[in-house]
């Protein structure tokens, strides 16, 4: 293991990491929004919307993520939708992550009991107040562990985007290996970087979980 080589490659890898974090950050924000919207539609009681959301979730979860990426990057341009590598990556990652977030949030909503409905009604809360101040805080707490898992998986799955040539962490490493043949050093480094990212993110998740759990702690 040649550590001077790793130090030499570090600036390149850091710019790759920046791209990884940018793509996955955008995808995380978008997929949470779509997930919340989808989960709301999924439990809205409007049958066509429910079937559409369910079909979307089933299809995305039932097909390989790599093929979805290729379909979006190579397939959509011939249908007249042309995106850059970066935006194709963001779209592919968002499409994949939203399917999982919809399920997470739906389970969160399902965990809020029917009794809350009656309680809000008896207190005379408006429908929107009930949704925002009663259902949302409870559903968010219930959905947090599984959606944190999905967030971590989103960061990890950004590595697949090297297959369409997005210059992120894995791409940089593989690219350098093609020139310098230092496979062990490069893979050691990116594994450490990915592990640090995953640990940081799941640590953050635990902190948020504890913080949100405070009203229920100590009983």
């Amino acid at each position: 293991m040649d550590f001077t080589y790793i130090l030499d490659a570090l600036p390149d890898l850091m710019s790759g990491l920046k791209m990884t974090l940018m793509v996955s950050g955008l995808a995380i924000i978008l997929s949470c929004l779509i997930g919340a919207l989808g989960a709301a539609l999924r439990t809205s009681g409007f049958k066509p919307a429910e079937y559409a959301v369910r079909g979307y979730v089933e299809f995305i979860r039932g097909t390989p993520y790599l093929v979805q990426i290729f379909f979006i990057f190579y397939g959509l341009p011939s249908l007249g939708l042309r995106f850059s590598v970066f935006w194709s990556g963001v779209i592919a990652l968002t499409v994949w992550a939203s399917a999982f977030q919809i399920e997470n949030f739906r389970a969160g909503l399902a965990a809020v009991g029917r009794g809350m409905n009656d309680a809000s009604a008896s207190l005379g809360l408006h429908r929107w107040h009930h949704a925002l101040f009663v259902v949302l805080p409870l559903a968010a707490r219930a959905a947090l562990p599984s959606s944190m898992n999905t967030l971590v998986a989103t960061v990890k799955n950004s590595a697949y985007l090297q297959a369409i040539g997005l210059v992120e962490l894995t791409f940089v490493a593989v690219d350098r290996i093609a020139y310098d043949f230092r496979a062990i050093e490069m893979f050691f480094t990116i594994c450490v970087i990915y592990l640090l990212c995953v640990f940081a993110l799941s640590g953050l998740g635990h902190l948020v979980e504890q913080r949100l759990n405070r009203p229920f702690a100590g009983r």
């Binding site: 249908l79 409870l138 950004s158 590595a159 990915y194």
Partner: protein, 244 residues
């Protein structure tokens, strides 16, 4: 039509995908049992390293694991062809995930069952196989079936390092027809193989549901046990009974 014209080429790819998936499922199950055994070793000095390995495999992106095995193993003097290289890396990854599923399943069986088995003289492997595992199956199977579909989907990663499976065949077909005829048929071909993979995974989950029903048979007359298997999370009791 393009798809019919190159039917045998694509079917050949599908056959390779099926073979690769089968190898991955068998290999993944093998490593899952191996890791689950390693995790439950009594000596901390032995089980800790296994735990670290399993966690690393779960936390490193699968794409990186696949490339790592493909690029790093030759440095150690082991050169595998793309097929076995991807089979090994995905199996190890599946094993790491499967180990946790198996361990959670075994832990869900009350320890009294094990003791009862001992009381009947079923020691060691016999007690595990005849008493504990049949009861753990309803807990193990649902996540294991989705792991199996995950493994089938992961077989498409072979295309990245050059295994001639379905996705790689599609890539080759698209390249060739784009060069020879102009105009990319990518959306048609990728769309088709998306559907093929979907049908494959759907068939597996249907088979899995059958298997689940088979193992759940002994419990079907007890509503209390069935209630435990309802999917989806429930809030911890402390969160729901907020007292004024």
């Amino acid at each position: 039509m393009l798809l019919l014209e190159f039917k045998s080429f694509l079917l050949d790819g599908l056959a390779h995908t099926l073979l690769l998936s089968l190898v991955m499922i068998l290999g993944g199950t093998f490593f899952a049992i191996l890791f689950a055994g390693g995790l439950s070793l009594k000596s901390k000095w032995l089980s800790r390293p296994v735990y670290m390995l399993v966690e690393c495999l779960r936390d490193i992106p699968l794409m990186v694991t696949v490339l790592l095995v493909y690029f790093v193993l030759p440095n150690a003097g082991i050169s595998l062809n793309p097929f076995w290289s991807s089979a090994l890396s995905v199996s190890v990854w599946g094993g790491a995930n499967g180990a946790h599923i198996i361990r959670a399943g075994l832990a869900s069986v009350p320890s009294g069952q094990r003791e009862a088995a001992l009381a009947f003289g079923l020691r060691g492997w016999k007690g595990l196989l005849l008493v504990v595992i049949p009861q753990a199956m309803p807990v193990i199977l649902p996540p294991y079936v989705s792991l199996v579909t995950g493994l089938v989907q992961a077989s498409s990663l072979g295309a990245v390092i050059g295994v001639n499976e379905l996705l790689r065949s599609a890539q080759i077909l698209i390249e060739q027809t784009t060069i020879s005829r102009g105009g990319s048929p990518a959306y048609l071909i990728y769309g088709t193989i998306l559907i093929v993979y979907f049908v494959l995974c759907w068939a597996i989950s249907v088979l899995g549901a059958r298997l689940e029903r088979y193992f759940a048979r002994p419990y079907q007359r007890q509503p209390s046990v069935q209630a435990k298997q309802v999917e989806g999370q429930t809030l911890p009791a402390a969160m729901l009974d907020v007292k004024a």
